[in-house]
Structures are given as C-alpha cells and as structure tokens.
Symmetry: C5
Amino acid sequence: MVIYDNKEWIETIVNFYRSYIIRQIFRSTLLVGLITAVLSFIVMEVLQLQIKFHSNVFSLLGIVLSILLVFRTNTAYDRWWEGRKLWGGLVNNSRNMALMVHSLLEGQATEDRNFYAKHIANFAIAMKEHLRKGVKLEELHHLDPVEQKIYQSRQHIPNHIISQLYERTQQLQKNGTISGYDAIPLKTHLQAFTDILGACERIKKTPIPFSYSIYIKTFIMLYTVILPFGLLEEFGYYTILLVMFIFYAFIGVELMAEEIEDPFGLDCNDLPTGNIATTIKNNTYEILCLYAEVEKEDEKELYEKVF
Amino acid sequence: MVIYDNKEWIETIVNFYRSYIIRQIFRSTLLVGLITAVLSFIVMEVLQLQIKFHSNVFSLLGIVLSILLVFRTNTAYDRWWEGRKLWGGLVNNSRNMALMVHSLLEGQATEDRNFYAKHIANFAIAMKEHLRKGVKLEELHHLDPVEQKIYQSRQHIPNHIISQLYERTQQLQKNGTISGYDAIPLKTHLQAFTDILGACERIKKTPIPFSYSIYIKTFIMLYTVILPFGLLEEFGYYTILLVMFIFYAFIGVELMAEEIEDPFGLDCNDLPTGNIATTIKNNTYEILCLYAEVEKEDEKELYEKVF
Amino acid sequence: MVIYDNKEWIETIVNFYRSYIIRQIFRSTLLVGLITAVLSFIVMEVLQLQIKFHSNVFSLLGIVLSILLVFRTNTAYDRWWEGRKLWGGLVNNSRNMALMVHSLLEGQATEDRNFYAKHIANFAIAMKEHLRKGVKLEELHHLDPVEQKIYQSRQHIPNHIISQLYERTQQLQKNGTISGYDAIPLKTHLQAFTDILGACERIKKTPIPFSYSIYIKTFIMLYTVILPFGLLEEFGYYTILLVMFIFYAFIGVELMAEEIEDPFGLDCNDLPTGNIATTIKNNTYEILCLYAEVEKEDEKELYEKVF
Amino acid sequence: MVIYDNKEWIETIVNFYRSYIIRQIFRSTLLVGLITAVLSFIVMEVLQLQIKFHSNVFSLLGIVLSILLVFRTNTAYDRWWEGRKLWGGLVNNSRNMALMVHSLLEGQATEDRNFYAKHIANFAIAMKEHLRKGVKLEELHHLDPVEQKIYQSRQHIPNHIISQLYERTQQLQKNGTISGYDAIPLKTHLQAFTDILGACERIKKTPIPFSYSIYIKTFIMLYTVILPFGLLEEFGYYTILLVMFIFYAFIGVELMAEEIEDPFGLDCNDLPTGNIATTIKNNTYEILCLYAEVEKEDEKELYEKVF
Amino acid sequence: MVIYDNKEWIETIVNFYRSYIIRQIFRSTLLVGLITAVLSFIVMEVLQLQIKFHSNVFSLLGIVLSILLVFRTNTAYDRWWEGRKLWGGLVNNSRNMALMVHSLLEGQATEDRNFYAKHIANFAIAMKEHLRKGVKLEELHHLDPVEQKIYQSRQHIPNHIISQLYERTQQLQKNGTISGYDAIPLKTHLQAFTDILGACERIKKTPIPFSYSIYIKTFIMLYTVILPFGLLEEFGYYTILLVMFIFYAFIGVELMAEEIEDPFGLDCNDLPTGNIATTIKNNTYEILCLYAEVEKEDEKELYEKVF
C-alpha cells in the first residue's frame, strides 16, 4: 500500500507512476488515442465520410455507464474497506486476547505465555499467506520439528492453529488455571478469529458476479468504438483528445475497482496485511512481556506503518 | 458460479457465452434490432413519415430509467451478497462448533464426535437443497433406516436436524460431559444455524415488490418502442444500432438483477452453495479428526473452489 | 403479497391488474393524458399561442426530481425490507425458543410445552393485528374465559403475552426445572420479541417526514402542469403521449414508495404477515411435538407460501 | 411531528401550511421570484442587454448541485432515522427492563417496583429535556425534597438516574433478591440506556461539518444569482417562473435537511420525544402493575400517537 | 470543530473565513480564474483562434466527475462519522465502566476508585494524542515518578493503560472484591476500549486508495485545463466566471473530502477529540464521587461543548 500525503496535490500527481493501475490506465488511454487517431485519419482523409451522430445519445449512454461504474466502485470499495475492517478486527482481537491471557496467567507461567504469543502471532502470519497463495511454513515462528510435521499434513493451517488455541484453553480451564468465567471471553476471541478468517476468504473468493464483469467490459469497449463516430464531424482531430479523456474517465473507474476488489494481494493499493501481521506479532509479545521477541519494524519508505 | 480472472479482459469477453444471462441479453438485443430494422424500413421507405422527436426527452427518460435500474441492481446485489455472507457465516459457525466440540470431547468419544460431524455436515447439505426444491434424503450422509423414516415424516428437515443437535447437547450437559459454561456457546452456534436458515429463506421468498417488477418492465418496453421514433429522422438506419445499444444497456441491468436476486439456485451467477456444503462437511470431519470421511473435492473446471 | 415468476416478462406484465398501485398509476396517467389533451387543444387551436420553452430546463428539473425520488424509494424500500427482516427474525426467534424449550423440558411436561407453544404462536398473531388495527381476541388460540377477561382489560396485548412468558420462565427457573445457565438464552429470546415488536411499531408509526411528503407531491404536480408548455411547440399532439410517459415515470416511483412504506397492512405489496404468523404457529407446535395443533396451511393462489 | 395520511394527496397539499419549513420554502421562493422580476425588468427594459448564456452549463451545475443535495439529504435523514431508532430502542429497553423486574420481584415488593418504575420513567423524561435545553426538575415524577436537592447539585441528570438504578440493582443482588444470573441482563439494559443517551447526544452535537454547510449555501446562492442571466434571453419574463421553480427545488432539499438534522427539538418534523417519554412512563407502570400511575394520554390533534 | 447555527444563512456565509478549507477553495478558485483570464486573452486577442467545442461533452464529463466526487464524499464522510461514533462509544463505555465500578466498590475504597478514574481518564487523553502525533506524558494526570518511567519505556501507551486496568480488575476478582458475574461486563468494557482504539487507528492509517486519489486529482486538473476551450467561443470573457464556478463546484467537494477523511487532527472540521477527552475525565470523576478532580470546562468561543 502506497502512503501519501493527501493534501500535496503536485507531489501526489508527480508520483503517479508508483501506482501500477494508474500507469496501466495511462497506457490503455494512449492506445485508445492511437487507434482513434488512425480511425479519424481514415474516415476524414481517406473515405471522407460525413457521419452525423447526435452526441446527445452518447451523453445518455455515458451517464448510464457512469452510474453503473459507481455501483461497481461502491461494491469493490466495500470489499476493500470490509477487508481492512476485518484485519483491524484481527489486531483488536489479538491484542485483547493477549491482554486477557496476560492478566489471567501468573508472571512465571512462561510456557503458557509463550504458547499463546506464538500461536496468536502465527495465526496472523498464516492467514496473510493463506489469503495469497497458501501458507509457507518457514514464515511461521518457532515451529519445532514435530509441529512442522503436523502442520505439513494439514490442508488448512489457520484452522489448525485456532484448534491448538482452543485445546490449550480448554486444558487450562480443566486444570483450574483459568476459571469458567474467564474462559468464556477467551473462547469468544477464538471464535472471532474464525469469523474474521471466514469473512476474508469470502471476500477473496467471491468477486462481482461474472455477468456484471462481462457486461461492463463489453459496454466500455462498444462505447469507445462508437464514440469517435459521434464526435468526428464536429470536432475533427480534437476527437482524439476527447475520446482519450472520456475513455480515461471510464476505464479508470473500472480498472481501479478491479484492483481493490481482492484486497489481500500485493498490488500497490492492496491492504498492508504483511505489516499488520508483523504488528500483531510485536504487540502480542510486548503485551505478554516477552520483549526478546519484539522485532524492530523495518520502515519501508512510502509504505504505511500500521500500529 | 463461474470463476474468472477479472484482469483478463479479452479472455473474459471471449468467454461471454458461458453466462446464460449474457447470452439472453445478446439474443433479446438482436431481436430488438430486428424489430427496429423492420420498423425503420416501414417508416422511412413505405410510409415516408417525417417524425421529429427531440431526443432531449429521451435522454431525460433514459436517465430516470437508469437511476431506477441502479436502485434495482443495488437491492438485488444486496440480496446476493447477503446470501453469500450467510453461507460464509454457516462455514464459520460449522467450523467453530466443530472446534469447540473437538476441544470439549475426549478423543475416545467417537460416537459423540461422529454425531456432531454428521449432523453439522447434513445441516449444510439439507439447507442447500431446502433452498432449491426441497431436501433429497439420499444426499444426506449416514442416515440409518430408523432416521430415514423419521426424516421422511418431517416437513422441515433442517429444523429437525437442529433439533437433534439441541437435544444431544442438552443430554451431554445433563450427564456432565459438557459444563454449563461450555454449553452456552454451543447453543449460541445452534441458534446461529437457525438464524442463517431463516435469513436465507427470507431472501429466497421475498423478491422485490411486485409493483416495482411490473413498473420497470413496462418502462423498458415502452421506452424501447418509442425510442426509434426519436432517432429515425436524425440517424436513419444507424438508428437500429443505437436502439440496440441503448436497449442492451437497460435490459442488461434488469436481467442481471433478476438473476442474482435469488442466489441459491443453479444459475451461472448463483452462489456455489453445493461446493460450500461439501467444504463444510470436509472441514467438520477434519477438525474432529475423522479423516476417513474427508472426501476429495472434485475440482470442477471454471467453478470456484471454496475454502 | 403477490407472488410471481420474475423471469416471465409477458406473464408478469399481463397480470399487472393484480397490483392495485399499478392500476392506480395507469389511471392517474390516463387522467393526466386527458388533461394535457384538452390543454393542448386549447393552446394550439383556440388560443394559437406560440410558447417556446427550452426543454433543457425540463431535463434539469426532471433529473433533480428523479434523484429525489430515488432517495424516496430507497428509504421506503428500506422500511419494507427492515419489516421483512424483523418478521424473519420473529420466525427465527420463535423456532429457536421452541427448540430450546423442547430440549429443556421432559417429554411429559405437556402443560408447560402447551403454555410455551400457545403463547409463542399467539404473540405472532397478536402482533400481526396490533400492527394493523388492534388485536382481535377471537383470533388468539386457546384463550380460556379467565384469560379472555384479563386480555380484554389490557391495552397492549403483545406486551402482556411476553409478560406471561417471562413470568412462566422465571417460575420454572425458581422451581429448578430450568437451570440458571439455560434461563439466560430463553430470556434473550423474550427480549428479542420485545425488540422486534418495538421496531415494527417504529416503522409503522414514523413515515417519511411530513415536509418531504408535501415537497415531493408539490414538485410532481407543478412539473406536470408546466411540462406541456415546454413540449407543445416542438411535438404538437405527440406532447400528450410524452407527458403521459414522463408523468408515469415520476408518479409510479412516488406511489409505489407510498405503498411499501407501511408494510404491515393488506395492500398487494405488503408483507404476508398473516401467513408468517400461521407458519410460526405451525412450526412451534411441530417442534414441541404437539402435532394435533398443526394446521394445514391453505395455499392461496398467487400468494406467497412462507416457510 | 405532524401526522398525515400519505395517500391523500389533495388533503396533504392543502395542509402544507402546517409545515413551518414548507412555508419558509414558499416564502423564500417568492422572494427570489420578486428579485428575479426586478432584475429581469432592469436587464430587459432599462439596460436592454443581450446576454447569451448557453443553458447547458446551468444544467451541468444544477445536476452537480442536486447530487450534492442528495448527499446532504441522506446524511440528515440518517440522523433523523437513527434518532428515531434510538428512541425506539429506549422504549424497548424500558419495557424489557420493566418486564424483567416484574418477573424477578415478588408482587408485594412495592417499594422496589415503585423505585424502578419511577426511575425508568424519569430517565426518559429527563433525556427528552436534556436533548433540548436542559432538564427541568419539575417535570420529573415523585421526587421527594431530599432527591430534589441532590438532583439540583448534579450537572448531568440522566447519568445520575442511571447511577441510582445501578446502585439499587447492585444492592438487590447483594441481599440476594436477585441472583447473579438475573443481574447480568438487568445491567445490560442499564448499559443500553447509557449507550442510547450517548448516541442521542452525539447526533445533537455533531451537525454536518461546517465547510459543507457553507459550501452548499454559497453554491445555491451563486447559482440563483447567475441563473436568470442564462434564461432571460430565451424565456423573457417566463424566467421569473422558471427561476422560482428551480430555486424551490434546491432550497427545499437544503432547508428540509437542516430541519431534520437535529431531530430532538420541537420543529414540526422533529421526533415526538415528548409523547414517547409519556408512553414509556405509562408502559412501565402498567407492566409493573402500578395502574394508579398510568396517565391518560391526551391525544393531540394531528400529532402522532406513539405506542 | 467550528460550531454554528445551521439556520442562520447570512451569518454562516459571512463567517466563511473561519473555515480553513473554504478559504483554500476560494483561493484556488481565484487562481484558476486568473489563469483562465490570461488564457482567454491569449486565445481571443493574440491568437484569435476559433475553437468550437460542443459543451455537451463537457456536461457528460462533468456529470461523470461529480458522480465520482459523491462517491469520494460519501466514503470520506463515513470515516468522519464513524470516527465520531467511536468517540461517542468511548464516552459511553467510560461512563458505563465508571457507573459499574461505582456500584461495585464500597464508598471507602478510595484507592481503587481513584485508580479506575485516573486510568479511564488517561486512556481518553492518551488516545487523543496517540491519534495525532504520539502521546505526551505530561498531559496524563497523576502519574507518579515510577509510572512515568514505565510509561516512557512503552511504545504504545493506550495499550499499556488498558493492560493496567485488566490487571487491576483481575486482581479485584481474585481477592473477591468483585464477583465473577460482575467481572464479565467490566472486561467487556475493556475490550470495547481496545476495539475503539483499533478502529480509530484504522481510520487514521487507511486513507482512500492511492489510485483513486491520483485519478480524481488528475481528472479535475485535466477538466479545468480543457474547459475554457469549450466555452470561450460562446461566452467570451464570461468564460472566466463560469470556469471559476465549475472549478469551485468540483474542487470544493474534493478538498472538503480530504479534510474530513482523517478526523482526528486539529483542522477546523475535525472532531473535537480534546473536548471529548476532557468530558470523559470530568464525567468519570463525577460518577465516582471524586468531585475534587472535576475541572471546570473552559468554554472556547465557537468551539463545540460536548456533553
């Protein structure tokens, strides 16, 4: 995720090349400009056609299209923002769980503290990769060889980690370390972990329905193909400029919506799930007073520092 | 549900025939084109009428219509997305319930584990069919002849399955296997099952109010009939093309909204409830360490793999 | 509530007369057409005025109006859908409560089972009527003469029924039939009953603010009166047709919004609260194994069967 | 709050004078009409200017403005509706709390019953005034001189009332009248009281950001000043009519949004918080069987009766 | 946050200079006016070009842009309003926590009361600064030298404060001052603190995706550059006025959205988090009967007094 100062217009615009999508928009706009130029030349100089399309109809279609694109943008943005909320919820739940465990366990129960810290941190890390291309076991912390083996045999690593946490909590409840009253909120947090995981999977795996995707793409393509005929007679070679601008307006909204629709990847607008996972790890170890494990966050230039 | 890579425009558009609705849109657009062609021929060649409709009025009506269609799309999409959330919630609840039961029951309590795994899985399968055309008992797993008989006598199978789960939980609480503290969240999950079921029934059984449905259909039809008269004089035979494009714009939004409004069927944009139910079954058995029952998911090409 | 197959356009449109509101829309549109015809005749033939209103201004006003009407529609639809959700929630809560009571009470506790079944069912029936014109005691089931008398003395019957359920639950908790753990979720359901009731009352009693109602009505009327002057010169007698179409577009949205704004009545788009109440009754008795009381639902043609 | 039958158009429109805001809209529209008339006279007769403003630009600006005004309306209406929901929640919570107390306390515990009834009712009354201009102690019921004195010394009366309820509940829990299980939901209701109070304070104290308020006001004023120049040449003295209509369209939306933004006052569209508070009082006393205190609600003509 | 009376138009508009953003809008609008004036002079007097751009295309682009800007405004406003809700929730939670502690602890437990009051108040103060530029320890109340040292060693002060509250609550539960029943809601409030904190951090750290920010800025700039060419021929030097007005319309929406997007700073439209924190402190001390600590709120002119 690119960080930027929203109020610095000039700087923001100059840095536009940092956004992959913006570059793509510019490239496809240039392509459309080129095609329109060739077309205009053929129609006006070679064929010398006299086409008279009233541009009112193009206005109507353009407005219809833009209303649809706002629908598209809203739904895509809602996913992105819901994804952000879910990861924010993961931070909150991890912190809360750590705070609770810290207040419930005596200071010397280092083994239990370590267990919770490690598994809470590993859950965030595993979930991050699970939502990309599958969990890489080498990214998880402190897996001993036995665990490594068990983890390898499981398909759904995040589920397995939650299961470990459930079992340990149940065990502590049974041996009386944690009372029944205190086990309830702990389990509520574990449940929240599952819920967040499931909701992220839902966002990742359910893009906008296929028909809408085709429909909008076809609409934009048709519109761009027909548009020059509606402008040529009146604007001559200025048509190229206008078509490019109008195409830029529509393609931009569609492409940006496509990018943020699946917010867990590594695109420049995607959520900084990697950083958030690191933060969760640090917070958890710090709260549980296991300071040795708190890593220095490496500030990456232009990338957001998450709490 | 068709899966696709949102960023591959060419491939997506070439595959358009996979979407039943898109094909329907193209077909009806062609039909409208044909009718307009005949009409244009009659008006211009046979009758040689001189109709002069200012197209501003058509712009106004078109914008009004498209604003309405976005309202239509929003409400339809909200149902679809709510349906997806509910099934996502079902996945979460099933997993959580399995995780809880797993941590509460000793490893040797195979009978109880089997009971929960079977009923949780069967609930998802029964619900899937219940939301289509009624539950087929042969799809449910491990029903012994006695159960088969009882199930046949019940009208509302999903309700009956939840009732079984309630009774077993209550029984385990009574004989002390599960403490009072632990029974509360278990029952909360059962309650969530009922809530999800009820909400899906609500979505299925309550389409957009009848009046809106007629109103929009009448509006589109009237508009398409009158539109050629507004364009003929100015555009001549190009009118056919323009009418087809405008009709495509409006009918597309309406038809797609109709398709996703009831998201539990087998249309190409409907939710993959079958796959989700299989996933729930696999997850549940895996979490409860009943690996023998975990089926290999058969990857269907172009159909989404759900977690 | 009219049921219909959303995908059968022809059939739907042919059945339009079933919707009271659609008929009303057609009627008022015809009236406006008539008035416009007379007006056009007078202006063009009798007075032979030359009015030249640029229709751009009418487009602007029309778009402003339609944006407002979408706001109107959204808020009205939100009420309707919230009402549907609330009644769906009532179904869920009733089922859940019945399932819980069923698992908590021994099979032979017929008196208690009957008590809960009767009061849960009666609550739904009383609420349905309470949201129309007041509860008719003869619709409630199994009221003995003593109860009849008490009920008659109460103003707010649904409240009284919940109060009965609270008292019985408290009593069962006191005599040990239900443990403290189990009483909590039961009471949560009773609380949900009150919340649903209160929310329905809120929807019924709070229409859109008075000013908005007047404002929109005045706007439509003024617009329709002035519109012909903007079209007459250009379109001649076609003006009648266009005015009717535009009027149809605006009045339709407003009238439909008015109809669904209070969704608990007996209009054709209102929610099938009667059917839902019957369903709740049947479900409750079936879950509590009091099969004798389960009535055959009488399928009404063209009316929705609710689960 | 004015009550009205939404389906009686004529009657509603004739009664428009009951809405203060509608009258204000008409008045300012007349004023604008007058100014435009003078302006038109000067430009056309005195200066005989020939201004040729293409009205397309005004359409664009008008549409931009109306889209913004819908944003304005949506946010204002959301506050109004959230306020209504909060007061509806207050009704539900009060009823539920009374129902619970009724089922928990023996019939003879008149002192405790009276305490709860009095404080629940007083909370609603105090909150109503707190959201207007501060609590008037004489409106609260049954304050004895000692209480009167304590109340006078407190800044935040509603907080103090909740505090009383907390203390009494804690006391009853300590002396065993109420079990630990039963105290939890009671305290949850008290917490809901605080939450509702805080949310109402938030709505009251946070209007739309200052910049938006200025921005929209300036936009409307500028637009109205420039508009006549765009219409004069084409429409002559009809300009006055058109400017008035367009101004009416914009100013109406803005003024109505301003009115409903703070919904707890005494404007004609504000929420009937006074009536709701009385209803809460009556309901609470009725549920707790303290019939002597149930007042006859005095029906105010044209004002909504709340449940 | 500037307070103002929404119904005083004249006064509001005259006070516009109080809004930094509005001033910025006016300044940039003037700049654009100047540039357009120079451009117009060059085109018309020096080059004497005859450019004929149909302004329909500009209308289309303008409408597309304004629809996008409403999307922009909606998302920015949602953040602002969510931020307000979160701080409102902080007020509610603090009050509730104080009310609970007050009812749970005996009057003489001054040390514990002081502990809760101090930490609840300090949490709000620390959070306010944490969302700006980091916590200033000197703003926190009653830190003794030992605490000061510990606080200095922590990175995340608000987390540390919650941790203190958790530990103390756990300790009181262990020594029997607070029962298990009563500890649950107390811990729920602590959890709510973490959740509110995390949600505010999310809002602060996740602006609208970078691509959208660039896209909109580029769109507005391109539009403003091309616009004069579309108007010059028709409007001559009036073009300057029109370009300024249209630019004002678009830039205003964008700049205001940028301002309220991060609502925790010190801009004139930002939330009055400082005042809210003071209020929380006063309320908490008052509820816990530690009147000596209740400070007189210093009314700042034109700044909102929060409850």
